[in-house]
């Protein structure tokens, strides 16, 4: 299923050519661009998927996917800022969402259909998730300045949480917790699948985090407040010995 989603994702129509890291979608679309204007299939520039085969018959999804052979061979790992690449780039700023410019290049205009002011609000919300010292420091000072500058900055602190062996990461707001215990309790409920074959003992897991210097540390050594000010992302590791 995931591979099918990726295939679908690669074929997203956009108004400007997709620029994915390490892959130029145009390579696969050359056929479409060269087709004469008067013919049936949609032209790439009008933002549509090469649709000739879609038009002729009603097709089930399996059939349809089978008609895009080039894409089925496309390796999974090259899709769009893949999560795995994060770990290789120690200390490099890697926003969890694309910054605005990339977004415009990589996503369909006006999709999903959310009004622009909500999108702006989401950007403000997410700006505080980005790694880097600046945001954390700003957050505290912005806190006090808020009544005069009125930037309306969000005071939530969303960080990504991953667990080895679990495909999908989660995001949590660290502002909601006041201690490591509260955090770990919450994480346990969030990642039940990872615990299938292990007993319900917290000691079997290690919570690690990446700090603002890019280093991976074991959570729990520093006071909670210090931790929240420097954490950028979390990862749960299983202690094989535990």
């Amino acid at each position: 299923m995931r591979s099918m989603e990726l295939q679908l994702g690669l074929a997203l129509p956009v108004h400007s050519p997709l620029k994915l890291k390490g892959f130029d979608l145009n390579d696969h679309e050359v056929e479409v661009l060269n087709e004469p204007v008067a013919s049936e299939p949609w032209s790439y520039s009008s933002g549509c998927l090469k649709g000739e085969k879609w038009v002729k018959n009603k097709r089930s999804s399996e059939e349809a996917f089978g008609d895009l052979p080039q894409i089925t061979t496309f390796p999974l790992t090259l899709w769009n800022g893949q999560p795995n690449e994060d770990d290789d780039r120690k200390g490099e700023k890697k926003p969890h969402i694309l910054d605005k410019k990339e977004e415009e290049e990589n996503h369909v205009v006006g999709w999903p259909p959310i009004k622009s002011w909500r999108v702006k609000q989401l950007h403000q919300h997410h700006d505080h998730d980005q790694s880097g010292q600046i945001n954390n420091a700003d957050r505290t000072s912005a806190h006090h300045q808020r009544s005069s500058t009125g930037t309306g900055s969000s005071n939530s602190l969303y960080v990504k949480v991953k667990m080895k062996g679990v495909a999908i990461a989660r995001k949590i707001d660290l502002r909601l917790y006041d201690s490591y215990q509260a955090l770990t309790n919450s994480l346990i409920t969030m990642f039940p699948n990872g615990r299938q074959n292990i007993d319900n003992d917290c000691a079997s897991y290690a919570l690690t985090y990446q700090d603002k210097d890019g280093d991976w540390l074991l959570a729990g050594d520093v006071p909670w407040q210090t931790f929240t000010e420097s954490v950028q992302r979390l990862e749960i590791l299983r202690n094989v010995d535990g």
């Binding site: 996503h107 205009v109 999709w111 009004k115 622009s116």
Partner: protein, 579 residues
């Protein structure tokens, strides 16, 4: 009685019914649909209706000219106008497309100097226009701007300065140039008539003392929605001056200094026992939320779409809101939060779930089909849903509509285009078939996911009351759109993007478009020739093509077709071709 004699008597009866009496009766009619029907009865009723009408609603500003409106309705006090096609909300319409209020204002100044209310949606409004309005209509009372653009806070300053009798200033979701908050300070010190003030979407600070004074002077204030810059500490100072409030939009709900203000806040909320609508609550946390509990008993509309609540927090809050009819949330509440909705809100009629991460596909942070199902079991009266999710199944939707057959508005957005049922890998046709078959009252439908022409066959066949249909990334061929145009007798608005529908589909609706308000097709397979043919066959339709840079000559990138008695637009920009 002899039928001939009966007819003669009836005719006499109608013609001797005095117009003045008829007008007195008709003044009571508010619904514009009723008024439309009345005006079609006979000439004298047409005249009586047009003289007695005080409010006119123009759903498409280009369907009629200001002159025609003023000639027909001489006594208008209130005007509502809608401009751009709805997809302009999602950046599909280039800037400077049109829908400028200016020409209307010139008419108002001349023909409706006693104009009291103006409600605009998706129109372009400049600061000069706002000032012109304020100066031309001395009795002006109510301004509502929703999704408009072209103005700045200077325009608001003009309204505040000159409109001595203003009762309503409602500025929502606009694309305005927010220069500063000083407009609020332009209300004169003796000004006290305001009943509705909504500036929630503005981002600059207003002078808090000026706001506080304004609120305390306006004894009839019923609706107050402030922006995020107003802090939780400042809020009680406003609330104590506005005991009559029925609708409140708070600013930031973040507690900066925990213990001290809590009691002040609680007291303030304890006084607000008339609140039925609550919104804002940005940056709300588990700590500040309980302050709301006393005020929630009578809440019917809770808008949490700016508040990133987690499931547990929502659950605790909803226990206090048994009377809720409308709920808007962010998908941070997740399925668990929606289960709490199902458990606590049996009277719920409307649910909207907005995404917090629409562009980030790799974190799972949202709602699924389970949450929707849970709500449907608990809230059997659900009639309006807007649901953004990343996965859905046919079986889930079938269950949902079985539980809630009274849907009038069903807007499902599966955020990844062409996504099939994630369990069976089938298209989502069965889901929407269930919706249209079961929900006989359905008026508005938005479809998503992988859909073949079958979905549209069902829609055409079963959706007898459907008025608005939104389609994106769906369908297999022209046949799909043809089915919709061939069925759906009440269809008024059809908006389509990125679907494989071409000229054959477009032209199959020849007979239908005059009974519809408008058709939008973008990213489809329609060509310029197809549009020209449509324009030629149907002279009373305006067929407009928006050309996009870099597209080829024969493709019609974005097509907007609408009925009009005004003829072709005279103010079309160069990228809009009227055929």
């Amino acid at each position: 009685m002899d039928p001939e004699r009966k007819k003669v008597l009836e005719r006499v009866a109608v013609s001797t019914f005095p117009d003045e009496v008829l007008e007195r009766v008709l003044v009571q009619l508010k619904s514009h649909k009723d008024r439309s029907s009345v005006s079609l009865v006979c000439h004298s009723w047409y005249d009586a209706e047009r003289f007695s009408r005080t409010h006119v609603f123009i759903a498409n500003c280009y369907s009629v000219t200001p002159e025609i409106v003023s000639r027909r309705f001489p006594n208008i006090r209130s005007v509502s106008l809608k401009g751009k096609p709805r997809f302009s909300d999602f950046n599909l319409v280039p800037p400077k497309w049109g829908a400028d209020i200016r020409s209307w204002l010139v008419m108002f100044a001349a023909k409706y100097p006693f104009l009291e209310e103006l409600r605009l949606k998706r129109m372009t409004v400049t600061d000069e226009s706002l000032e012109f309005l304020a100066l031309s209509c001395p009795n002006f009372k109510g301004l509502s701007l929703l999704s408009c653009d072209g103005f700045s806070t200077d325009g608001l300053a003009a309204i505040a300065t000159h409109c001595k009798n203003l009762t309503e200033l409602d500025i929502q979701e606009n694309d305005l140039n927010d220069k500063s908050g000083s407009w609020l300070s332009c209300f004169p010190e003796n000004f006290s008539s305001l009943e509705v003030l909504n500036f929630a979407n503005l981002s600059n600070d207003v002078n808090f003392e000026a706001l506080e004074r304004l609120v305390s002077r306006c004894k009839s204030l019923k609706v107050l929605k402030v922006n995020r810059n107003i802090t939780l500490e400042q809020l009680p100072r406003l609330l104590i001056h506005a005991p009559l409030l029925t609708e409140l939009g708070t600013g930031s709900f973040l507690q900066e200094h925990p213990a001290c203000q809590y009691s002040e806040l609680e007291n303030a909320f304890n006084k607000c026992m008339n609140l039925n609508t609550l919104s804002g609550l940005s940056e709300v946390t588990a700590l500040s939320l309980p302050a709301l509990y006393p005020t929630c008993a009578n809440l019917t509309f809770l808008n949490l779409s700016c508040a990133a609540l987690q499931s547990g927090e929502l659950a605790k809050l909803l226990v206090h809101c048994p009377c809720l009819r409308r709920l808007w949330v962010l998908d941070t509440v997740e399925d668990k939060g929606l289960e709490a909705v199902g458990s606590n809100c049996p009277l719920l009629e409307e649910l909207r779930v907005f995404p917090t991460d629409p562009f980030d596909e790799d974190t799972f942070h949202g709602v699924t089909e389970s949450g929707f199902i849970a709500v449907s079991y608990g809230c059997r009266r659900l009639s309006y849903v807007l649901y953004f999710c990343r996965q859905m199944t046919n079986a889930a939707v079938e269950t949902i509509v079985q539980n809630c057959p009274d849907f009038t508005h069903f807007r499902l957005c599966i955020m990844n285009p062409w996504q099939p049922d994630y369990q069976t890998n089938e298209p989502m046709d069965k889901a929407f078939c269930a919706v249209v078959k079961t929900c006989t009252r359905l008026q508005r439908l938005a479809v998503s996911g992988l859909l073949t022409d079958l979905t549209f066959e069902y829609i055409g066949k079963y959706a007898k009351n459907l008025e608005t249909l939104s389609v994106a990334f769906a369908g297999s061929s022209d046949w799909g759109m043809q089915c919709v145009l061939g069925g759906c007798p009440k269809l008024r608005k059809l908006e389509i993007r990125d679907c494989p529908f071409g000229n054959a589909a477009l032209l199959s609706g020849l007979d239908k478009y005059e009974s519809m308000r408008s058709l939008w097709m973008s990213g489809c397979k329609v060509t310029m020739n197809g549009c020209r043919l449509l324009a030629k066959e149907m002279p009373r339709l305006n067929v407009e093509v928006i050309k996009v840079d870099g597209s080829n000559e024969s493709q019609a990138d974005k097509v907007y077709v609408y009925r009009s008695v005004a003829g072709p637009r005279r103010d079309a920009p160069p990228f809009v071709l009227t055929l």
